[in-house]
């Protein structure tokens, strides 16, 4: 909200600089988003054109004699064509500083010009919003007075943010009230007194047919003519960002910006039956609104209609049919209160927000309507109108019950002592009525005073004790709240999911994996790429009903696509390791659900190796087993598995005590191709909720006696997995086997067709004594026998 400091001065005497005012407003909870610095003008006087004559030497120039105060008359040449004798205009004298120019003596075609008549833009005013040419002021202003001081034109403008609960502060008077309370200054309420009400001017009728019109104050005026508003009003509106239109429209805007209550003026003679009805629109009713739009209405909309048709959309926009024009003589003023939520819904439905609707939708206090009408009446009276009586229709005004507040409540919530006197001062300054209740003895000798506090009508947001404490805190200052450590309370809530994430991330980073965070939303194209690669995503994706763009239409069904896109983008000759922990989403039959997943990925160039070997897979498997070891304290076993995103022949489940802890594998080559990746890519996927618990590893005393290692070269059928070979070795060497490991595999010449050669290292050791070579030979023979029996292995000669 644009807040001209010049306007604030109408209600409170501020002796602060712009920055000090901005700082004070921030402390009160109204942060200043921008300070609009006004050009610093000087040397401009209010002048009267005594005479206007043609320039003797120039057709397009005029020479004016200008009265700028007792005994001071200046000769000024001007090129403007809107000047005439008798006009009151701003006059820049020699030495004046204007917006972007300084005025010195100069000769215009032989005439020494002693100053300049000013146009709006030279005064730092919006050019199109005021008169073309020289700015015209109204008669009656003090000739010779300092123009800049009279209208506080050098005061800056603050753009203030108002929180949605404070509709009472969405106006200049509301902010002035806050500043006055905070600074301990007197608030000057605007003058709403008029000498006489014409009781006969009461020929308007109002009917409320919808409960969403809470209150409707109507007032008749007669005798006002459309004209230009006085400059003080025009300049306030313009600085507040509202374009001046004419005196009548300007008065309704002025009162709204001053008090927050939107008003509307109707040409009374155009209202059928002289009767306004607040009712739901009928299906298909049409209204041309003041912005020229043709609006087709339905019962969602609350309208103000005459006996024939809608004349305006309540709280949003008036209609063209009863618009005030230069022919208007009889006026009807509307000052009404509506249900905020209804206005908000209407505003959304129409895609229309106005200065009026932003206030109405926050729920204006019904008691404000009559106050604003009285203020408008005063201003209309100054424009020559006779006022009829203001007639209020609608719900009776709520009488508010006082809220109980104890001195101790303030301390309990804020942690700081505020004296009873300071509490009273703070609340009273903001217009609250404070009555002291009986003093009660509280704990110990301290006495805690309590109060009965009644909020003023404009503070509908203050309902409970805590609201009052916030008001007190704002006035005494949030900076008085101390910074203290809270007491520690015993509690027994486990941080399991978070701890799981931490130890998983920690394990992966130790193994050289870098963590990524990818977006959860993705376009349809991700699923399309999968489909075109022949990969059916496991889950039905969750669709966002109201996406802002196509890129944000679907929730991710897997962590893999973003990782593949990353692999394609940053592919290099170096191996890359990445992981992510995040949620994936899937549409269930009833509702969407989500799963916390961890994915890790290795991207590395493909070495030259036979097809039955994939050293990248083995490297990745090693990493993955190490991750699970750190996370679980146990060693996992790999067994063959499948997964839709992984190569059917290069996928394994990692089992911990028989429970599936992760699925790892080479990414399906069709996906690799679809993402344009050249390197080999391996991915592991683990559900965070199924993450194995950590088992504390147990100690086994290492043997003090020497071990004997034997390497065995075996011939087996190619489908025999290494795991089975190792099992067979274990079965044949009960009690003496320290380690077994298949360390090589070979197929090709020297090996008969349909067989493969595997090399196994067997380490034998006893815990109680040294193993002899002869004993070792016996054990090896038993191992070979077990291998022959269990996996059909023969010794390679």
């Amino acid at each position: 909200m644009k807040l001209p400091i010049a306007w604030l001065r109408d209600y409170v005497d501020l002796a602060l600089s712009t920055d000090e005012i901005a700082e004070r407003l921030a402390v009160l909870g109204f942060p200043v988003e921008e300070i609009v610095r006004r050009p610093k003008l000087s040397g401009v006087k209010i002048g009267r054109l005594e005479s206007v004559a043609k320039h003797p030497n120039a057709d397009r120039l005029l020479v004016c004699q200008v009265d700028v105060g007792p005994g001071e008359r200046l000769t000024i040449a001007t090129g403007a064509d809107n000047v005439a004798e008798g006009q009151i205009v701003p006059v820049a004298t020699i030495g004046a500083e204007l917006a972007g120019l300084s005025i010195g003596p100069r000769s215009m075609r032989g005439i020494a010009s002693q100053g300049m008549l000013c146009s709006p833009d030279e005064l730092g005013l919006e050019p199109g919003w005021f008169d073309d040419g020289i700015l015209q002021l109204e008669q009656g202003l003090p000739v010779g007075a300092d123009f800049v001081e009279t209208f506080h034109l050098n005061d800056d403008v603050l753009d203030v943010e108002i929180t949605s609960n404070r509709v009472d502060a969405m106006c200049v008077l509301g902010i002035a009230r806050e500043l006055a309370a905070s600074l301990g200054l007197v608030l000057r309420e605007p003058d709403s007194s008029i000498p006489a009400i014409d009781e006969a001017l009461c020929d308007a009728r109002v009917t409320i047919e919808s409960p969403d019109c809470k209150r409707f104050v109507a007032q008749r005026f007669s005798g006002a003519r459309v004209a230009t508003a006085p400059f003080w009003m025009r300049v306030r509106l313009a600085l507040a960002g509202q374009r001046p239109i004419d005196n009548l429209v300007d008065i309704s805007n002025f009162v709204m910006l001053e008090t927050a209550q939107p008003l509307h003026l109707y040409d009374f003679e155009k209202l059928a039956g002289g009767h306004l009805i607040a009712r739901d629109a009928r299906e298909g009713e049409v209204l041309r609104t003041l912005d020229g739009e043709e609006r087709i209405l339905d019962p969602r909309f609350l309208v103000i209609a005459d006996e024939r048709e809608p004349q305006g959309i309540a709280g949003l926009k008036g209609g063209v049919a009863s618009e005030v024009s230069s022919q208007t003589r009889e006026l009807l003023l509307e000052s009404a209160t509506f249900t905020g939520a209804r206005i908000r819904r209407m505003s959304v439905a129409l895609g229309l927000r106005t200065e009026a609707s932003t206030r109405h939708e926050k729920g204006l206090p019904p008691a404000l309507a009559v106050v604003a009408a009285a203020r408008a009446a005063k201003l209309l009276h100054e424009q020559g109108a006779r006022a009829g009586p203001a007639v209020a229709t609608g719900e009776p005004l709520e009488s508010r019950a006082p809220i109980g507040l104890g001195e101790a409540d303030v301390r309990a919530l804020l942690g700081v002592d505020v004296s009873a006197a300071a509490i009273e001062r703070a609340l009273q300054g903001l217009g609250f009525e404070v009555r002291r209740a009986n003093e009660q003895a509280a704990s110990g000798q301290q006495t805690s005073r309590s109060f009965a506090v009644t909020p003023p009508y404009w503070r509908g947001d203050v309902r409970i004790r805590e609201d009052l404490v916030e008001e007190i805190a704002r006035i005494v200052g949030y900076d008085t709240i101390p910074a203290e450590p809270p007491p520690v309370f015993p509690q027994h809530i486990a941080s399991t999911a978070y701890d799981d994430e931490r130890r998983t991330a920690q394990a992966l980073l130790t193994l050289g994996y870098r963590e990524a965070v990818n977006f959860s939303l993705q376009p349809a194209s991700v699923a399309e790429v999968y489909a075109s690669a022949g990969i059916a995503p496991r889950a039905r994706p969750v669709e966002v009903r109201n996406p802002l763009s196509e890129d944000q239409r679907y929730l991710r069904f897997s962590l893999v696509p973003a990782m593949l896109a990353w692999a394609a983008r940053y592919e290099s000759a170096e191996a890359l390791r990445l992981f992510e922990i995040g949620h994936v989403f899937e549409q269930g039959s009833e509702q969407p659900f989500e799963t916390a997943m961890c994915a890790w990925m290795l991207v590395r160039p493909r070495p030259d190796e036979p097809p039955f070997r994939d050293s990248g897979f083995l490297e990745f498997k090693g990493d993955s087993l190490a991750v699970l070891r750190v996370v679980s304290g146990r060693d996992a076993q790999a067994c063959s598995a499948t997964h839709p995103e992984l190569h059917p022949g290069k996928t394994a489940s990692l089992l911990l005590d028989g429970v599936d802890a992760a699925t790892i594998g080479a990414v399906d080559p069709r996906l690799i191709a679809a993402y344009g990746i050249r390197n080999a890519v391996y991915v592991a996927l683990a559900r965070m909720n199924d993450l194995p618990s950590y088992h504390m590893p147990r100690y086994t005393a290492p043997s003090k006696y020497p071990a004997i290692a034997r390497d065995l070269a075996l011939i087996v059928a190619p489908e025999i997995p290494a795991m089975d070979v190792e099992h067979a070795v274990r079965a044949g060497a009960e009690g003496v086997l320290a380690a077994v490991r298949v360390f090589d595999e070979y197929r090709g010449p020297q090996i008969e067709d349909g067989k493969k050669s595997v090399a196994v290292r067997v380490v034998l050791q006893r815990a109680d004594r040294t193993l002899t070579d002869a004993e070792a030979d016996t054990h090896v023979a038993a191992i070979l026998e077990s291998l022959r029996e269990r996996v059909g292995a023969a010794i390679r000669r």
């Binding site: 908000r344 804020l414 949030y478 101390p482 809530i493 050289g512 870098r514 963590e515 109201n546 763009s549």
Partner: protein, 273 residues
Amino acid sequence: MQAERLAQRAVEAQLAVAIDVTFPAPPPRAGSLHPLRRTLEDACGYFERRGFAVLLGPEIETEYNSFDGLNIPADHPAREGLDSMYVGPGLLLRPHTSPMQIRAMRANPPPLAVVTPGKAYRRDAVDARHSYMFHQIEGLLVAPGIHMGHLKGMLTGMCRELFGANQSVRFRPSFFPFTEPSAEVDTTCPGCAGRGVRDNAQTCRTCGGSGWIELGGSGMVHPNVLRDAGYDPEHVTGWAFGVGIERIAMVRHDIDDIRVFFENDPVVLAQLA
């Protein structure tokens, strides 16, 4: 003697060798946490050491937990700033981590001390300063005798943990339907130590010259929220806060574009490790 001399000479020859110690080392295989997780863990760690539990929650939330249970009924103007993405009737991507307040209170009796980090979503385009997906930490302490000074104390401690020992915290009045009184939380700008200008006399680009950076919202939990979650506001009081992780991490690493966090450029991940 001869043997001794030979041994001596061999030792001398060994000692006479010098290598180029400036020769580059081969790159280590180094992993790293994402800068957002690092900041999140640092913040959570501060609270954990003071007896707070850390809870994670779902990103798809009910409208009730996101709004109504937080004292933001339908048509409340405060919903305006929480423009959400819906994925089903009454279901949306949570626009803040505050629904975790309700989940935590429903599941546990007081006293309750939790922080709940996580992702949140708003219907917003992505540019240098905005992202539709972002991370927050929500903090909640409810127990007898808790006041706003305790909130300022803990947030001051958190800021010192995140930015350094000289941080202070400023509260400014604000409005959130689920807290009363409510406060915006600012902390001393670490980019200029609160002076508003950097050492090179330029206006600080971190805080725009104000000397403060905005962290998020906070306040005393509204009695309606306590009551709806089954707590008795006559017996316990509590505070809650919600701060953005991206903003904090941007200040800590001097990053001026939020998109940096979601590009995951390996060079940048290595830089910030």
